[in-house]
Amino acid sequence: MTAEDSAAVRSNPLLALRAIHKSFGSNHVLKGIDLDVAQGQHVVIFGPSGSGKSTLLRTINLLEVPDSGSVTFEGVLYWAGNGTKGSARAKPRQLRQRIGMVFQQFNLFPHLTALENVTLALTRVKSMSREEAEMRAAKQLHRVGLLQKLGSYPAMLSGGQQQRVAIARSLAMEPRIMLFDEPTSALDPELVGEVLAVMRELAHEGMTMVVVTHEMGFGREVGDLNVFMDEGVIVEQGGRELYTECRESRTRAFIRAVL
């Protein structure tokens, strides 16, 4: 990447959140968040429970709509507060087709096989033929090491395998960016590794990622931009050096407690 390229990326990020506020009742969860994500960047968000990390991630694909602030993706405005209606912004569904999301609880469709979990959106949203969709889905499942499990239903798979199917389901849509919401938090310790391995592989291939995680090791390894959140604000952000030389005492205390 040349200096010119990276300057272009910086001034024209893939994803831009501006002044995001979100409350649930009287609980003010996000208090003015700004976040830029560049093409190919790996953003790792960490912080204590209830700091608003997951809510922030969910506002990116508008599963949670912000009370105020704007969401811009690929230069298109998808949300600008509750005031804008109709033609002023593009549809959240268009946004979600371009953004993949992996959930803490996997959320696989239990009535569909691993293969069908991946093909559903390919046939229904991308209007692919069944043959085409199955071939692409099988390739994605091979990519996450589950070619042998095409016909398995989620209940027959381990947690780690389920999460890998969920990753394949998102990847099949060819997203520009992948969101991971604590993808290993619901897994037994011995299954965490296989999911992180797939995520690491994705990162090395250059996939743009935003990851909310408690796996600080993963952040130290792949995080280009590491963001520490507490009580609804971004306390501090930085490169990999953040884990060793942070400025804020809150960040330091948290990192010391977790590592």
């Binding site: 599963l63 959320n107 096989t113 959106a121 229904r124 042998q148 095409l150 398995s152 998102s170």
Partner: protein, 266 residues
């Protein structure tokens, strides 16, 4: 010692048969209509509309609260006859009464079934860009259907039994014909025992039907299944999956041979 005479039953099988036909007709038609109405009631109760939602809640609460027999009498004598609604024959009035009450009950069952599908399912579906209609039909409905099969089976059994109440307004269903036969022959025990057995047979049939449906909704992994595969569909599915596996492996071997990495971006 009582002297039984089963001839009364065997000689009048055609009467039972006629009654059975009416009962089955009433139940099948009423239950089909109730199911459709029940889905509508459930969806309206789950809508965001501030007028429709409480209206549907009222519908459910009112019609669940009235005893079935009272309601049948009300619809037939209270509405059909008092207001001279000629199109409402006894059988039609009875079926209207059944449909109204059962759609209220089924609406509650279906609503609970839809709500029992975890919220994460809807989120995962919309996160891959599915529309809310697509999500409902491909993700929510199949899971809700499976949840509501056993309670819906109970409702069907309930309707078979409740259909006997139509006897009071003169519908020639099973109980009515049996009653007539008993009054004519004075063979109460034999005649009513036969009726009991017929109802038992009907509900047993439904029981096995429900069990079959529940089994059909239980998944089988066609690739790792060790028992011989039951259906042609499953065997064809296995062949298709094996074909896919081979195609994917062949392609990635080819890429590796060409010097690409085995794992490639989309």
């Amino acid at each position: 010692m009582i002297d039984f005479s089963w001839d009364v039953v065997t000689e009048n099988l055609d009467l039972y048969w006629q009654g059975l036909q009416i009962t089955v007709f009433v139940v099948v038609v009423s239950f089909a209509i109730s199911t459709v109405l029940g889905v509508v009631v459930a969806l309206l109760r789950l809508s965001d509309n501030p007028i429709i939602r409480p209206l549907m809640a009222a519908y459910v609460n009112i019609f669940r609260a009235i005893p079935m027999l009272v309601f049948i009498l009300f619809v037939y004598y209270g509405l059909a006859i008092a207001f001279n609604m000629r199109f409402l024959s006894a059988i039609a009035a009875g079926m209207v009464a059944l449909c109204v009450q059962y759609s209220a009950w089924l609406g509650e069952i279906f609503r609970a079934g839809i709500q029992a599908v975890p919220k994460g399912q809807r989120e995962a579906s919309s996160s891959v860009g599915m529309t809310s209609v697509g999500t409902f039909f491909s993700v929510i409905l199949p899971q809700a259907t499976r949840i509501v099969i056993p309670p819906t089976g109970n409702m069907l059994i309930g309707m078979v039994k409740d259909s006997s109440l139509l006897y009071i307004i003169g519908v020639a269903e099973l109980l009515r014909v049996t009653n007539t036969l008993a009054n004519r022959t004075f063979r109460y025990f034999e005649v009513y025992l036969a009726l009991v057995l017929i109802y038992l047979a009907l509900t047993t049939l439904i029981y096995y039907g429900v069990k079959y449906l529940e089994r059909r909704f239980t998944e089988v992994d066609v690739l790792t299944q060790t028992k011989p595969l039951r259906s042609f569909r499953q065997r064809r599915r296995t062949a298709r999956l094996r074909e896919l596996q081979e195609a994917v492996l062949a392609e990635s071997a080819e890429k590796q041979a060409m010097g690409h990495r085995s794992v490639s971006g989309p």
